[in-house]
Point group: D2
Amino acid sequence: MSYAKQLLDTYPRDFNLDADLLAGAIDALSDCAQACIADADLSEQNIAEMVKCIRLCLDCADVCAATLGVVSRQTEYDANVTRPLLEACVATCKGCGDECERHAQMHEHCRVCAEACRRCEQACNELLAAME
Amino acid sequence: MSYAKQLLDTYPRDFNLDADLLAGAIDALSDCAQACIADADLSEQNIAEMVKCIRLCLDCADVCAATLGVVSRQTEYDANVTRPLLEACVATCKGCGDECERHAQMHEHCRVCAEACRRCEQACNELLAAME
Amino acid sequence: MSYAKQLLDTYPRDFNLDADLLAGAIDALSDCAQACIADADLSEQNIAEMVKCIRLCLDCADVCAATLGVVSRQTEYDANVTRPLLEACVATCKGCGDECERHAQMHEHCRVCAEACRRCEQACNELLAAME
Amino acid sequence: MSYAKQLLDTYPRDFNLDADLLAGAIDALSDCAQACIADADLSEQNIAEMVKCIRLCLDCADVCAATLGVVSRQTEYDANVTRPLLEACVATCKGCGDECERHAQMHEHCRVCAEACRRCEQACNELLAAME
């Protein structure tokens, strides 16, 4: 069982969201930030063609890390912050995932990164839907 | 002149936003993240009453840091990411600023932190307005 | 297989460290940052006794996140940065793990967090040893 | 007066370091992280020659941000963490500053970034010396 699920199962307060859904999002955010921060693109020969991908990965890593922090802390929940943050996260995962997918045939690490982005995009969308 | 303004003045590409407005937002985001990360609340005697403030400061620091990264990098601009991220930042600065202001009479550092949040909230709102 | 291992297996350049060892450290750093950032202590009734633990968790999350970034990027490796950073990471994981363990009987989430810290401390120590 | 100095002047506990020295380091760390995160190199035409600089800037931004967090929080001070972390920060600022300086004639933004790195390297060294 992931640390996120273990921590939520032992959380000292109630919270409104489903623990499995939330733990899934936390794990997906952590995986996506980790994949995007590695920035394997920087080691490619065709670096000039990878500039957009590098930039999108950096943005995606930053937004995922912030979203991870905010959704992990359940003490004070504010939909006015969490909702647009999750929307920004969905958009950055989609943009980064689309760009990575364009190079997935050429660069195997882009395929891995695209997969992490897709899973995170979906997990954030499911969390948003559960907040309705 | 701040580093943000110097860097934007020497930026190798054109970008659509006004450099003074953008540099102002970058400086305000950096100041607000710095104030919120210090977490002086943790050293207060009445810590039990400060829990909400601590949590809101942590969220505010995370969102400001991510927004700082995204708006600082001008290579690829995506309104679908930047707009909701700035909206999340405005909301977290407002929430944190309101809570800090409640303790501003009692704790001088909360007054300082509230001021940093207010300035950041305003700078992000101005950037959002310029993006219309 | 974790994303870290998949990414290292598809990395476009050679690097000097053993891929399994490095992937293990990356996963441990990511798990530890995630556990420490959740800050479940903030939701405890006996918050006044948890201040030291909260502070140590925040430091641990910050140092683990930075170490994660630096060891994930293999393009330019500088032992003068990586070595003291890993030493700082070992020390913060040890300090945070010790403090969490003191509350492990009382707070189940501290037991989980302590475990993440211990694993990360060990993984960073193994990486340091491999760098000799 | 910077927010760092204002916050330290209103800090609810005593701490062992000189407030001016510490505030100077906090401001220098914040400026350096901000300069390095902008990653103006990504927008340069000669991107293939800038790969090392981009990587070093990313590392520098990560280490400065973590050091900023740790030295800003004065509730629990642990020399076993702070000292190697400041040493890692000195090394990353030196490495990044040296590389940026190599391009300072060609790229004005590298000159600005080198200046931020130099000031941060010096401020961290002064803090280390004060901790003896």
